[in-house]
Amino acid sequence: MAKKKKFVIGLIGEKGAGKGTISDYLMEKYGAEHFGTSRILKRTVEDLYLPATRNNLVKLALMLKEGFWPSVVIDALIRDIEKGKAQIAIADGIRMHGDVEPFKKKYGRNFKLIYVTAPIRTRYERTKKRKEKVGEDKTTFEEFLAEEGQLTEISIHEIGKNADLTIHNVGDVKKIFQQIDKFLK
């Protein structure tokens, strides 16, 4: 019997936009399985005793793309997804030009990209609270703004513009979840 084709939800969003909240909801409500490029990037950086800063993760990703082939990280993510059991998979950590195409090629209409975004002030406050990456809680707003101007951050916004669904992640969470439910129907 042929395996049923998976449904893959790609998540893209600036830092602090709240991808985690959306991802948690998709897991709880739809039994989706979460896959992220951080399994490759963060663990490698940690193995080398380097601080898992956003900058180091991006540097590593760019090096792997350049050293092997442009979609090497995304291809690995797709292999992980294929190994997973769930019918719905979340592909987290899409951020660079060329990251979306391998998903479209593999899953066609069974791939949907969700862009999660929020105003910059809100995002700044969130990153200060969560401490997900090293040094995040000590960043000043000026530093945060400067990081936003980096090419790898700008590409998030550019790719996000062409997403299948854009979520403005501010205000009532319930309304946001309703928006997702409607989209996935």
């Binding site: 193995d47 792997l64 092997f68 292999r79």
Partner: protein, 170 residues
């Protein structure tokens, strides 16, 4: 290459309850995470790129940290090739450098048999000689000259084990 480092490491692990660490371990991990073949070329290119990005002594630092975190009494570090590799290790108390060597023909035959990396089985003797002259293999004899002990692994396994016991019990 194929001088018998792995055999020595295994023997010390079993007899002296040691743990061994390889320089190539983080490289192998990265490659397996991205599903890229762990042939010698990819490992060397990855090593080169990582060191360029995060500092020439990155892997030397990593392994030294791994050894420090290791709770075992005897710890083996397998795969030292350059002086830069021992930059941090040599400062750890109790560090001893052991140079293991063997004739090139013997080493070639061993390598084709083991197939540790993806491309080893079908390598020609000529290619093997070239590999030995290229970076990073070329620096091994000079690093070996500064070793605390040297093992000539051309003979039997018993002779090899005897030499190891002597070094450890010294």
């Amino acid at each position: 290459m194929a001088s018998g480092k792995g055999t020595v490491a295994k023997y010390i692990e079993n007899k002296y309850f040691a743990k061994s660490h390889k320089f190539s371990a983080p490289l192998r991990d990265v490659l397996s995470r991205i599903y890229v073949s762990n042939n010698r070329k990819n490992m060397q290119e990855l090593s080169f790129a990582l060191r360029q990005l995060f500092g020439q002594d990155l892997l030397a630092k990593t392994i030294s940290q791994d050894v420090e975190n290791d709770k075992n009494l005897v710890v083996v570090v397998d795969g030292i090739r350059r002086f830069a590799d021992i930059k941090y290790l040599k400062h750890l108390p109790g560090f001893k450098l052991v140079y293991i060597t063997a004739d090139i023909k013997t080493r070639y035959e061993r390598m084709t048999k083991r197939g540790e990396n993806d491309d080893e089985e079908n390598k020609t003797f000529e290619q093997f000689q070239l590999d030995n002259q290229a970076e990073p293999e070329s620096e091994i004899p000079r690093v070996g000259e500064t070793a605390d002990a040297t093992i000539n692994n051309n003979g039997s396994q018993e002779e090899l084990y005897e030499q190891i016991d002597k070094i450890i019990n010294n």
